[in-house]
Symmetry: D2
Subunit: 395 residues, 4 copies
């Protein structure tokens, strides 16, 4: 039955998270350990400790690994509350890319792999990264352009290639890396591997300066120079890498929607408060329609983004892969939340351009969100193609 | 618990309505009795008869008047299916303004009034209209500018004024009219009256030519020249007219969202089918991103419109007045569905400008929907004002 | 030297046209001879007579045919003034499709052809049409999909095919028709022919109902059933039809920009006046930013549209074909003027949906303008392709 | 006569500047002396020296101060070419705020003031700043909210207040500061003063972190604590400060349009080149309409921005104050160029978010441009108000 009522448990947990974020995490937002590539790892550990004490660490993780085993709808509610601070998801260990990696490892890894990589990750002992994207002419919006190669050699795969825009590589303990297996006994094709970051031949070339700055470790360029990875570190099956990327992607992009919804809500709260206080031309700017209409559009964009996110979460909880629906949600939500952030900057005026409020940071992050996990154009392409196909089949 | 699953009963009813519309109603769309002011009344009666035979007449009406007593969420599902044809809501007697009038009469009228006006209306024996809007400088977007006057005289109110854009007046048996009571024993202020259309002094001056053309009877200009209305035809209490207008408005604008969602879905189906067939520059136009991206944006707009509509329907079912939420839904849905219709015209190209498909008609209707039941600007104004107020109170 | 000053002659002519339109033409706007397919021909003749008496008939035509031989920049100024009434360009005989046909005949026709077809056309003795567009799967946005065929037979071409959306066919004396020559002594390929409308086998099947309604004769569907056209009625050379279509198109789409600029200016004047008078919520609606911001955006859109139009006119006067620039202008101007008309409807509210003002008509026309003479998507496609090509060549 | 041809001298100068920027300035873009608050002053001096050697320093300045005395239209052409690098206007000493200050000093300062402040500024010996904006509740979008006070005392004015978002204060030799004179022999009201930055009581509190980062010195917060300014350092007349602000503003916001047009053109060139090279889904992304349509819209936005800028420059050269027209240009150009930059980021995808290209920087700058020199909303407000007023007067 159609129902938009969160359960009492969801509401209680939401409230706990909201208070945790406001009281314990937001005060850290001006911590000097936060730089252009996110918070330093010592700050991250400090924040994780706070969340652990509150019982709020890694709530999405299965209880067997110490999490709360939240459903997707639960997450929609909790992650939004966490996202109210850019430090929130980091503190609660439900930020990208670790969150998506945990999901993928739970779904695909062997028991031994889980023991070795998922356990320490799930408990925030370590961080991880996900190395798929490559510079031109490699895998970008189109993952099939993968050029990183893995050759089989004595029960190992030897990986060579360049990856970039690899979020969180700096400081990660291990990576999941995608490479194209070209030979070997178990088949060929795009394949995921687990590799410790200190494996010989794996090097962080540089941290890229970027518009968005909240992800811990920033975005790195990595070189894989003949990196030997034991065959038992293949994640899942050889040749199934692109399929697993989809397994990871649909929920991962949805959790981005959840977290950024919280951030956009924060920006809107700041802008709305400002609009009620700051005066111009004889009254508070919030009484000028030029401003209040922007706030009205924000209300609508936030509300619809929430509904769209809940809807996909509900689908995922039912076991639906929700590929098309999560694509629609990512497209709609990323663009709507960006508009919200953009309007908040505008409402704040000159102040909105400065770091005196967190709105400037949120604006940067949301600009980036229109690109990663599939730029809007790739989603439009796939949604549009499906629409035409469906219309043909209906004839 | 958050849930987006319609009940089996809702799904079954939806399917019945869909089939009824496709098989029985759509064939009438090219009936020559449809003119620039909607279908003629004899066609309307014919369509009502079809719906009555299917048990689909006035499904929103209480069972005591022969309806199905549908909840708001039920309506969201059923009215969308009805709206798939511009004739659908007319046939099922769930179109504006009758639908809103029935709702208002159920809520406010006395037993005697219900007997006299609601019974024949609920069973589609007659039609009705709602006379609130006035030409400048009277009541338009701002209902408090009401200039039509009612003076008390010997147990009657004598109403004088001009109303325009009165949908469905031509052919209606009675009207609900708003006038400003200036004296009399029961107080003063904006007041609603029930008046038969043949009351002396009440005259239809003209039917206005308008961009939208689907409403039966079109939009009329009415003169009230010393129209004597017995005091027992006051609807509700004297001075409460503006409040009742709100009672009528929130659900009425939501049912518009429901019906137009069906119409926009129809336009999108036609455009998607066309895009899969029509070729240009070497392939079906639906394989050009310039077209398929428009279809993708349609998918998103339709989906979010549906979610927003369901959400308010759910609120109304819980007894929430949902003033702010229905305002947000009306704003978001009317603009989204208009974009859908506009893109459908564009996808169809020259064909889209002609009446060879129903898309041209749907486009007109949706342009109008951005204005009636509160133009977007009035909704933005009230939503924005509430947002600033809420921010102030949160401080 | 960069200069935006019209010459004194241009300003004087502009003023003459403005006064002519306001005093002599606008009063005819409510003439009952104007129907859903434009004004009747007797009204057209009456209006032409008025313009002829004022010396304002066919100002764009060469003086040898009785016109003023205006330059393109002259036209930009004069046609905008003419466009202030939807009847203006018709009265001055500078409306589509005649205006473009005259241009094409001047450029391509033989002396004998000019004598026979251009002379009576240039003096408004007759009207003409241009038959290129075909229903699916024929020539639409992509003219190379031409399916109408011309077979050579005894010094004639026998043309068979269907054309639709042929503006002004009803009442025209002759047409320029595009057909694909498949054999014969003078080559093959897409070719233009001159054909009197009463040629046997040429039939107007129907006038299509359409959203736009200002073009005289409306938009027709024509059947060419073995229509025998003498070989000396080939316009220009066999096989050059697509090239001539371009010759006609660039200036033709620019004159659309000019005329519709005048119409949009008219709509904006009406909306601005209304905004200064109509009150809501305590003050004139034009003092609500929600309204005044729309008017501000109109000012910008009108201004930029004028500059873009002047710029291409100046290019054409220099002998530049201005293919890419006229494409950019058509795209930008059609979308900007449509936004203007859409905002005007919104500013007028319910009134804007009715035919009580001319804004409703202008809105319809401008919706159509986003499609004919190349839908926005086709222009974006060609401009974008040229941009990528230029970037490659610059490397 | 309407003409869009630059003079040969303009074209030659444009070419010189283009080559200077490409050959001499762009190589400095990765100079490590460029930080979050623009280039360091030693780099600025080095770049000024290069421009001086090329005879390209301060081209807008009167020849008596060593400039070229360029007209506004000349500037439109030259500043666009300079803006092709974010360092270009700095190198040529035609960047904000110095450029506007020079303009204002030329227009308003006494001979002695010019000798003391304009001469060294015009020759780039020193830099300057303009201290008008204040934190809430002071002068922001509404300059009449000025709270900085100047009290008369013994032939001095004693200024007290806080200014922020003061561009270039760090490293400036002097400032023009706006304060409200509350007493004294020469009248009262908002007044501009010239003050050396080392005047006692004038302190730079901090440099604000901001989204835009190209302005030299960044944006500072200044405290004026009983700063004694001799009465002969009043700029112009007491009480005329707001009027002078307008004198400065109209051309200043137009030169912003010019410079940012060059920057947006640069971003577009980079994106177009990328689109021709980078592949996805089987072809260069520039052959996907999803990308090429963005580039097409860029072409249109750049073209219209150029026309709008030229038009106001031409008005200013004619002696027109062009208040309304420069407001329209600022609104239209800032929003159009921002769209261009935003699309360029999107075309570049992940790369566009990084500092691997200059597009990321240009994007930030253009976001800020929608706010400074009047946020879009303030321009819409004034343009809309003028439109309603004009409509009333036309009645």
């Amino acid at each position: 039955m159609i129902d938009f009522t969160p359960t009492p448990e969801q509401l209680a947990l939401k409230q706990r998270v909201e208070q945790f974020i406001r009281r314990r995490i937001i005060p850290f937002e001006s911590d000097l350990r936060i730089g252009p590539h996110g918070p330093r790892d010592d700050l991250r550990i400090e924040l994780n400790t706070l969340a652990r004490h509150e019982g709020l660490l890694a709530p999405q993780v299965d209880t067997r690994y110490g999490g709360m085993g939240l459903s997707h709808v639960d997450r929609a509610i909790v992650f939004e509350a966490a996202g109210y601070s850019l430090l929130g998801p980091i503190s609660m260990h439900c930020a990208a890319p670790d969150e998506g990696n945990m999901h993928l490892l739970e779904a695909v890894a062997t028991s031994a792999q889980k023991e070795r990589w998922l356990c320490p990750l799930a408990t925030a002992k370590v961080r991880s990264c996900f190395a798929m994207t490559e510079p031109a002419p490699g895998a970008g919006a189109d993952p099939r352009q993968l050029v990183t190669v893995a050759r089989y050699e004595a029960d190992h795969y030897v990986v060579t290639g360049v990856k970039w825009l690899i979020t969180g590589a700096q400081g990660a303990a291990f990576t999941i890396v995608m490479a194209n297996v070209v030979d070997g006994p178990n088949g060929t094709g795009p394949t995921m591997f687990l590799a410790d970051m200190n494996t010989p031949g794996l090097r962080i070339e540089r941290i890229m300066d970027s518009l968005d700055q909240s992800f811990i470790g920033g975005h790195a360029q990595l070189t894989f120079n003949q990196v030997r990875i034991p065959a038992d570190q293949v994640l899942g099956a050889v040749g199934e890498g692109l399929r697993y990327a989809q397994v990871r992607l649909a929920p991962a992009r949805l959790t981005h929607c959840m977290r950024w919804l919280g951030a956009a809500q924060r920006a809107n709260d700041i802008a709305s408060t400002h609009a009620g206080r700051r005066t111009a031309f004889g009254k508070p700017i919030g009484e000028h329609e030029g401003v209040s209409f922007m706030l009205a559009d924000n209300e609508v964009d936030l509300h619809l983004s929430r509904l769209a996110t809940w809807h996909v979460a509900w689908l995922l909880d039912r076991g639906d892969r929700a590929g098309r629906q999560s694509s629609m949600a990512k497209l709609a939500v990323s663009e709507a939340l960006y508009r919200v952030a953009d309007r908040c900057v505008q409402v704040l005026g000159g102040l909105g351009l400065t770091r005196d409020t967190v709105v400037e940071r949120i604006f940067r992050e949301l600009r980036a969100f229109r690109i990663y996990d599939g730029p809007s154009e790739v989603h439009r392409w796939s949604i549009g193609r499906a629409a035409v196909k469906a219309a043909r089949e209906a004839e």
